[in-house]
Symmetry: C3
Subunit: 437 residues, 3 copies
Amino acid sequence: MGAAKSSCQGFLHYAFDYETPKTLVVPSIAAGVVFRFTQLLILLYLVGYVCIVQKAYQDTDSVVSTVTTKVKGYAVIKGSANTSSPQFRDVADYVIPPQGDKSFFVVTNMIVTTNQKVSHCPEIPKPSTLCNQDSQCTTGLEDLRGNGVRTGRCVNYSDTVQTCQVLSWCPLEEDTGPNKEALIDAAENFTLLIKNSVTYPKFNFHRRNIMPHINSSYLKTCVFNSSTDPHCPIFRLKQIVSDAGEEFQVMAVEGGVLGILIDWTCDLDLWASQCLPKYSFRRLDDNNKSRVLAPGYNFRFAKYYKSPEGTESRTLIKAYGIRFEVIVFGTAGKFSMLPTLVNLGSTLTFLSLVPTVSDWFLLTFTKKRDFYSKHKTTHLRDEDEEDEDENKQSVKKKVFLLFFRLVCYLIFIVPDSFFFCRCPWAPAMELNRIDSK
Amino acid sequence: MGAAKSSCQGFLHYAFDYETPKTLVVPSIAAGVVFRFTQLLILLYLVGYVCIVQKAYQDTDSVVSTVTTKVKGYAVIKGSANTSSPQFRDVADYVIPPQGDKSFFVVTNMIVTTNQKVSHCPEIPKPSTLCNQDSQCTTGLEDLRGNGVRTGRCVNYSDTVQTCQVLSWCPLEEDTGPNKEALIDAAENFTLLIKNSVTYPKFNFHRRNIMPHINSSYLKTCVFNSSTDPHCPIFRLKQIVSDAGEEFQVMAVEGGVLGILIDWTCDLDLWASQCLPKYSFRRLDDNNKSRVLAPGYNFRFAKYYKSPEGTESRTLIKAYGIRFEVIVFGTAGKFSMLPTLVNLGSTLTFLSLVPTVSDWFLLTFTKKRDFYSKHKTTHLRDEDEEDEDENKQSVKKKVFLLFFRLVCYLIFIVPDSFFFCRCPWAPAMELNRIDSK
Amino acid sequence: MGAAKSSCQGFLHYAFDYETPKTLVVPSIAAGVVFRFTQLLILLYLVGYVCIVQKAYQDTDSVVSTVTTKVKGYAVIKGSANTSSPQFRDVADYVIPPQGDKSFFVVTNMIVTTNQKVSHCPEIPKPSTLCNQDSQCTTGLEDLRGNGVRTGRCVNYSDTVQTCQVLSWCPLEEDTGPNKEALIDAAENFTLLIKNSVTYPKFNFHRRNIMPHINSSYLKTCVFNSSTDPHCPIFRLKQIVSDAGEEFQVMAVEGGVLGILIDWTCDLDLWASQCLPKYSFRRLDDNNKSRVLAPGYNFRFAKYYKSPEGTESRTLIKAYGIRFEVIVFGTAGKFSMLPTLVNLGSTLTFLSLVPTVSDWFLLTFTKKRDFYSKHKTTHLRDEDEEDEDENKQSVKKKVFLLFFRLVCYLIFIVPDSFFFCRCPWAPAMELNRIDSK
């Protein structure tokens, strides 16, 4: 009973007696200044860099977005205006796909092959298709760089040239490259309306690029301009291309890919009302023609027709043009407990290194370092026992020490460990002094 | 030789002598309680908030996903059912694009202009197109808000109205706005099958929204319902729209954009089998008609035909309808060493502040604070030397002190530095007492 | 004046007197080794795991990317090659959509229903459509699993079978499942060119998958092979499918979804030039036919024709095929101050725990632990006052202690708190000894 009571009391003592380090107050202005100044530096880092520059007290979320687009405009195809059959094109003809996705293609140039039917015709002349006799045309050869399946016959392509006959959509497309000048040059005046709605799911924050405070009469007439009308959602294609550092009429010839980047990076703590889209434009494909495979941007599509007799024909269109991609990105930040505490904790760690630095300064650079060291550090002396040990276990111990000398060297070549070797020179000196007594 | 040995021994002493703070055990229950209680608070924060609420021991990854959709259903266009030529539409007619992408459009209303040919016709009457004589119609004017290129002639639009003639696809579309009631009102009964497969690449975790444990006979008959059938991948369009807080027949008139959000947020540590999709629905475009430009959602597309003589005509369709967007998002978390240690380290930092708080309590609020302070803190006295210094360097030192008083004030206005000024009042009092001796 | 001067001096003393812990240097090789070895372990963790493995000194950003694709090749439909009307198909016919998006569909099999017109025809026989008399066919019933709106008449489907008549696109599609062998089996030889341009906006880093150092003559002839040509941007469809662990001709029958994953994970510190795309391939849909709803991948689309008299007809195509999805993902890391300091701070925290561990070792396991403990720890004795307290406040205090014993137990069951109970056994023993005096 007495033992139980005593052990319980012992436990209580253990659990609630408070153990605190003994300290020494040194009236050294120099050490004090070093101490406070290092503290100040770290606090400035905390406030200035961590809080203000990096906003490390914020949790972040990535944008989830939806985009719809609408192109307006029409054009008469170049060279056809004064002919008897002018070719007129509007939105339904030149925007592919038509449904207003975030990625769409505007035709600016094309090669049209009309009235193609599946039948037999001579290949386009090139080294691998030229022939003099049927035996040079292997039947059924499917050369994927050719235009069709060879029938095994060598036929006249023109009066002077013979090529292998193929099964294909005939007549074959004569692809001599795009027109030197874009056929639908008026496309530069087309306008583009972008409707973009974004969400930051983590913060339940929704916003649209057409802001409620913008009145609708302004919206009906405005055109985007990065300096004067930065929040107008209506863009002129020519402006977009020139803002990306390209020239529309040059880009229109072979086509390309153009990114319309909408940046929704926002700070939702104080300035949620200032969370506005920032538009920028960049050409996304490689326009260095000399080194790229298949420069520009083009694809083939067909319109299918049926004659009254039921035979199918198609009009093949190789369309060159500009693909516009609306790319929405951004991160929003908002105050959150966890990142704040993690970053605060990390900074406080550096504050806890301040005494180490100050101690090192105190015991190395102050005039009265020996006086301070004497009061701060107590050296236990147990030389008698050590001597005995050394006599008894000398061999054992020497091996032991050799091993740990290696370990020690390893520690000291890592520079970060520097601060954890408290007052490196002073105590060593002290030690030597004691040892040499 | 002896010196080398001695320096080596000195180094060994330096490297392996262990320096430890001297401590004082104070039998103060109050201080002990403060110490343990503060520790407890921080541990509760670590366990409760960091581990359980924020799951800060997890590494996270964003979802990579693939979606295919399939709409089923057919409809007879309103008003045509009892006529001699009823108009019937099925999936291939009203879903654009047809290939089952994650974003697709269902036509619910439309304005059809048949048999358009490129030719000359009078403009639709509006203030800018009305005319009395040819001189009012500038030849070649390309007003992008008009419908075509002016020929310079003023012609009869009707018996009473004259407008400028344009080159365009004629007859022009008479866009008097969508029908007041959706033409394809049966679209509300169409069903939508969503197949969604997700991957968290960092954790090599794959999953599909059609779970293996769901049997196929259920799948053939079920319809999604957020409360009774939350994992059925087949949706009724009407249900989707009403779950988003809208009415189908109202939305169908002018069209809109509807988001089907699939949330795959998962904890992959314990409950990987519970990683299930959560569906929600939200209208993504602005439905406040009064303030938006071009409310609803519509686009124009054309079907092209060729007459036996080779002239091209088209049927232009201005399609109103609902664009459905399947948006997949989510983050998965899984235990990882690094975030665990970073967050643990940050919390431990706060634990290392506990002694500071307890010391302050001990030396400020306990009855025997002077008694404890006397044993804990030793004040070095070197007043004699200080006095001498003061006489010699008084001017120098005063300037020095003035400067650092400023620095000191700066430190003290930053509240975080509070805890790092150990036992602020007690020692100062002590000091004064010693000084005034 | 004197008071002001004295208070100011007191403040200066307070602000700049430097308080430092008193320490004891213990010549214990064992404790020193434990101390240095624990430090070494933590430093190895810092350098090895945090820096090298996790690259925790880096800030990260997610990839923003743009993809264009181009398929090449042609095919003769199986079985039609030797007939009078061979069916030939090229890119414009079998790639949907045609515009080279990051997601595209290649038709490999199909069911074609030609010359459909909106009219009346008997339903496809199945249990719910069979009938003997008109009364079994409810007029206007819109069974969404049927093919059209019932007219209320029961008509001959064949000589022996009668079904309900419906209003629909007639003749109805006879969907008896896809051909057992893919019709466009030559699709396996088609080639695919992928152009991919990526951006890490945070680091202003741009790159393309067609690297500038790759010469264009190589690009014109190369074909991707994961081991021999890992950076060739031209892929053979058969190779893609087989790299994903599937067989092309099997997958081509019912279709499927195939992911082309491009991984741009990069370290932008030292090896920005080594930031290259890594291609991998994976089937994205569920190919376990037994358990999935609607296995494979197919959709219906139509081509519309008009007779000279103006009646519209369509060719309905149920297309089976492989949808390819180019999925670009990746994270780039680059040195940044904030994560470096956060992670360094967290690790330093663990270093600051080293003395706790060493103290515990010193006062528990060394031979001379009592000797060291005596010099390290001073126990304040105020038993006289305590006894008095106990007599006076015994009841109050007992309740108080009981409560905190509970709290104490709570602390000790959390294992992390272990290290913060400094030298648990030794001081307790000491205490008991003192108490029992």
